[in-house]
């Protein structure tokens, strides 16, 4: 290819032609933002500089609407929470110390908009991106999880999205050799034209392998390796085509990035080999904003300067202009800083894995990021001004006018709540309806398309409360992970809703016996330019950060996804919260269901039940959303967690499962279905103690509740332990292997097979 094809807008040219019109508005910049760039540079930006600033100052890269609020996560940290935090918010992913020289890194990210446009590639590249964040920390990725939200299950477009997104996640993740250990699938019409595709990845590393994204050491070389750079993901940048006067150039660039999982798998192994041989000083993956982001972040986090020759970038499409190369979001690329002495060894690793690379330039101490095109300077900027000094906004917030009316509209007072099931038969059919409903039905149609075994360290995966992965084969030490969110709760009360998401995720992890240590969050909201959405967003951050402090689990990283809306209608605020916990030995984990050999064991319900049906799955089935979500009691969650963790360590429990959406009815059914072993329970003591009716006992979504199966020999010890912590516990019944049914005494009985059929038919019916 020849560089002469382009009409290159050099720095010199920009200085000489101050009055030239530039397409800043088409690139998404506001007038004052453009002016700020001009002020920073003391001249108009070159086309390439404009490209860089516009992508780096976008909401997606700069967090301009959320930055000032996200600071609360860093501010609400005490010393105890910092103790195990090796890397916090701001790097590619947070890192938490696991002891014995091990550390873990994890993060959840969104790929919502691309997945709506092209479900397969959108979801696939979502996995690819989050996995590269994990590699960038020096870690070996060990598992992924996917919290997904789709529109109504019977909407004609939902099948397209479900098929595409699920096979995209499977097609990419399975090819990387990463077990998919959990996630969630929720159907709600609010996500119809805006599905949420969040992806979480977790990786493990030895302390000495930790790598950060900085370019240090003057004279060290900068290298780009992995896939070639093409026109992916720069559809919006097509206005820059005016840079080109080549008529044969493709008129449209694809806005969709296409993933190559094989290239990513090779990149993983190749990077791990680089880390092991200590061949890179700093490393950064190329995600959003591609080379613009990688060069400006590496430079500004290091010695402050970098010199790069852009014509050395290996291209898949030789017609790309400099601005497009800088903005391209081609997948499976990494940028690293290598000392000259190690360059040869670096090249040998590339050759072994057959990975293409090109040396682009070097680290300087000039404090400037200089990018040349065939020797001519096209970018000359302070990298900090690109990467960190973008605009920040304190956008107006307004509590929605509808909020009071919404909260006053309780399920009980509504038409939907006027006639509720009460008789045994009515409760029985409600239970079957509930476990067949889109949100509570069996999800194995989805999860069976994911490899949960690869790696040989998966101790638990879907449908268990948390995914569990062994980290250290010698000791059995490992981690448990869960993600949760309830958009309906957050819609009713975003502050409480975010806390409820954390509480459930925390409870899920503790239920398996892991000690919760760290949090990652993906905040999916509507447009920040809508003051009502902004209010929801800030409320959720306040709620989540307060709750993290109270539960003593720090947020170590995450992602904000805004503009999730169709027209002026925003999605429900959906703060997805992932909690990571630590096991001394994953073989001590508590399973989520009982087995045949547990016949006769006592089933206890921990926690109390009150009338909390607003926002519940049952109310959702009746088409009602109003009132206030269940109350959050974080101190109770903490005590409950301690009980479950000690019980797991001391081997007091054979099964434990948390109560969340669908309440006791769902939890009981799921425990019975886990291994197809029945149970006999009596609600009477519960109704008396808590003063609720059978319907409320079964379908309320009160928090802080867990069902456990206790071996006879451990019952006394367990009851003592729970009593000592003054946590309410009630003996509800026994595991009954012979009955082959879920028997709720004096009310109804459902054979396991009937439960199974109701539970498994739903997804197959819609998507099979």
């Amino acid at each position: 290819m020849s560089a002469q094809k382009f009409n290159i807008d050099t720095v010199e040219n920009a200085a000489a032609t101050p009055g030239e019109e530039q397409p800043w508005a088409e690139l998404g910049l506001k007038q004052d933002e453009y002016q700020r760039i001009v002020d920073l540079l003391g001249r108009r930006p070159t086309a390439a500089e404009l490209a860089m600033y516009s992508v780096m100052w976008s909401e997606h890269c700069s967090y301009k609407s959320s930055k000032i609020h996200l600071k609360k996560f860093g501010a609400k940290l005490d010393e105890a929470m910092k103790k195990d935090m090796m890397v916090g918010i701001g790097e590619n992913a947070g890192v938490t110390d696991l002891g014995d020289g091990w550390a873990v890194t994890f993060k959840v990210e969104s790929h919502n908009h691309p997945s709506f446009v092209e479900p397969y590639q959108g979801a696939a590249t979502g996995i690819g991106g989050i996995v590269r964040d994990i590699i960038s920390m020096g870690a070996r990725p060990v598992a992924v999880m996917d919290p997904l939200r789709f529109g109504a299950i019977d909407h004609p477009d939902t099948a397209r999205l479900v098929h595409g997104i699920v096979s995209g996640i499977g097609g990419y993740g399975n090819s990387l050799g990463l077990p998919n250990i959990g996630g969630e699938t929720v159907f709600d019409e609010v996500y119809q034209a805006n599905p949420l595709v969040n992806a979480l990845a977790v990786g493990v590393l030895r302390h000495e392998d930790l790598r950060l994204a900085n370019a240090s050491g003057v004279g060290n070389r900068v290298v780009l390796f992995g896939a070639r750079t093409g026109g992916d993901g720069i559809g919006g940048a097509s206005v820059l085509a005016s840079e080109s006067f080549d008529d044969t150039k493709p008129s449209k660039r694809p806005a969709v990035q296409v993933g190559d999982p094989f290239a990513e798998k090779v990149l993983i192994e190749c990077c791990l080999e680089l880390f092991k041989a200590e061949l890179v000083e700093g490393i950064q993956d190329l995600g959003a904003a591609g080379i613009s982001c990688a060069t400006s972040e590496l430079a500004s986090n290091g010695d402050g300067g970098m010199q790069v020759e852009l014509t050395d970038v290996l291209l898949r499409d030789p017609t790309l202009t400099p601005g497009e190369i800088l903005m391209s979001e081609s997948q499976e690329r990494m940028m690293a800083v290598v000392t000259p002495a190690k360059a040869e060894a670096f090249e040998a690793v590339m050759a072994k894995w057959g990975v293409e690379y090109s040396w682009l330039g070097e680290v300087t101490d000039t404090g400037r990021l200089i990018i040349t095109w065939d020797g001519e300077t096209i970018v000359d900027v302070d990298p900090r001004s690109v990467a960190h000094d973008g605009p920040t906004y304190d956008r107006p917030q307004t509590r929605p006018a509808r909020q009071d009316a919404l909260q006053a509209d309780t399920f009980r007072s509504s038409d939907a709540g006027a006639s509720l099931p009460a008789s045994g038969d009515e409760l029985r059919s409600s239970l079957l309806e509930l476990i067949a409903s889109p949100n509570l039905c069996d999800k194995s149609w989805i999860t069976n398309q994911y490899d949960r075994y690869v790696g040989g360290n998966t101790a638990q995966a879907m449908p268990d409360d948390a995914g569990v992965v062994r980290v250290d084969e010698a000791s059995g030490m490992g981690v448990g992970l869960a993600t949760d969110a309830n958009g309906r709760y957050a819609y009713l009360d975003p502050y409480a809703g975010a806390q409820l998401a954390l509480a459930e995720s925390y409870r899920n992890v503790a239920t398996t016996g892991a000690v919760p240590m760290a949090v990652t969050d993906c905040l999916n909201f509507g447009s920040p330019e809508d003051p009502e959405v902004m209010w929801q967003f800030v409320q959720a951050i306040d709620g989540l950060s307060d709750a993290c402090l109270e539960l003593q689990v720090p947020v170590t990283g995450g992602n904000v996804s805004l503009y999730n809306q169709t027209g002026t209608t925003a999605i429900h605020p959906t703060p997805v919260v992932g909690v990571l916990g630590r096991f001394d030995d994953v073989s001590r984990r508590t399973p989520s269901g009982w087995r045949e050999e547990h016949d006769g064991e006592a089933i206890y319900l921990l926690g109390t039940t009150s009338d909390e049906l607003d926002g519940s799955e049952f109310a959702n089935l009746r088409g009602h959303l109003g009132g206030l979500p269940p109350k959050v009691d974080l101190q109770a969650e903490k005590t409950l967690g301690q009980i479950l963790i000690s019980a797991s360590r001391d081997g007091m429990l054979d099964a434990a499962h948390d109560l969340s959406e669908g309440g006791l009815a769902a939890a009981l059914s799921e425990m019975v279905l886990r291994h197809g072993v029945g149970a006999r329970v009596n609600l009477e003591p519960l109704l008396q103690r808590d003063g609720v009716d059978a319907f409320t006992a079964l379908f309320s979504e009160s928090q802080g509740r867990v069902l456990v199966a206790v071996p006879r020999a451990e019952e006394e010890r367990f009851a003592d332990m729970v009593g000592m912590r003054e946590y309410p516990a009630l003996r509800l019944g026994v595991v009954d292997a012979e009955s082959g049914a879920l028997d709720v005494q004096d009310l109804f009985s459902v054979p396991v097979e009937e439960l199974r059929e109701a539970n498994t038919a739903t997804l197959a019916k819609h998507f099979g």
Partner: protein, 252 residues
């Protein structure tokens, strides 16, 4: 003859293994191989010394047996296993498998696909009939216990090991299928449910000599209690102990 050994990471210490057997098992890694570390772990648990083999090398390093593990070598973009088959290491493996010494070779999933592409085993794999990737705990009937890799199973024993693939539908022409059946070379047959439309419910086959075995399901994922099917299954360990036992006896 099998002894019981304690592994710190094994919940179940009762698996019969051959600690420090001295048997060397090579595990091949191609670009895109995924289950190599798992296959190595399984061989180690069974008592073998594991020798990593790189696809581009051309020395078998005196290994006594070879495992070609699962994954998506070269992305499986052309056909599963189609490019790996041309690796220098595969030439060595094909020669050693066909030599008088009859090197034992086990191909799992993508490894099975590579063995068919290499013509060490007949037939081929095409996309699952339902077109989805499928991951499930799969029952298999062991129909041939005379191969190097199945000696410690009982005839017609039903085992459960994970199955996980996209291109798992075994196909071959009628003549080949008839020959496989007539010669008892169908080693594993899907039991209970045919998960991918494979001809004659075939999950795995062997060559005439019984040293080369290929199957789609994954025995290496069922060797440790707590990490296998239903969190308990360890039915896969006997693949690895079988070959060690055979090699120990042969060297006597």
């Amino acid at each position: 003859m099998p002894r019981t050994v304690e592994f710190p990471f094994l919940v179940d210490n009762t698996l019969p293994t051959f600690p420090n057997s001295g048997v060397k098992i090579g595990v091949v890694t191609f670009p895109g191989t995924l289950d190599d570390r798992d296959a190595a772990r399984a061989a180690r648990i069974a008592g073998a010394e594991v020798v990593p083999l790189w696809h581009a090398d051309d020395s078998l390093q005196d290994v006594d047996a070879v495992i070609i593990p699962g994954g998506f070598s070269y992305g499986d973009y052309l056909r599963a296993g189609a490019i790996s088959r041309f690796a220098p290491m595969m030439d060595k493996i094909v020669d050693a498998a066909n030599s008088d010494a009859k090197l034992p070779v086990l191909g799992i999933c993508n490894g099975f696909q590579i063995l068919t592409e290499s013509h060490l085993l007949p037939g081929s794999m095409i996309k699952n009939d339902h077109l989805h990737f499928i991951c499930r705990d799969q029952q298999l009937k062991v129909e041939n216990v005379n191969t190097r890799w199945t000696g410690l199973y009982e005839q017609d024993q039903v085992i459960t090991i994970p199955l996980k693939n996209q291109d798992g539908q075994y196909v071959a022409d009628a003549k080949t299928l008839d020959a496989l059946e007539a010669e008892g070379r169908v080693v594993f047959r899907y039991e209970g449910l045919n998960p991918n439309g494979s001809r004659n419910n075939i999950a795995g086959i062997t060559n005439e000599a019984g040293n080369v075995v290929g199957l789609m399901p994954h025995p290496e994922h069922a060797v440790e209690k707590g990490f296998g099917p239903d969190h308990t299954g360890t039915d896969g360990i006997y693949f690895f102990t079988s070959v060690i036992k055979h090699l120990l006896e042969a060297s006597k």
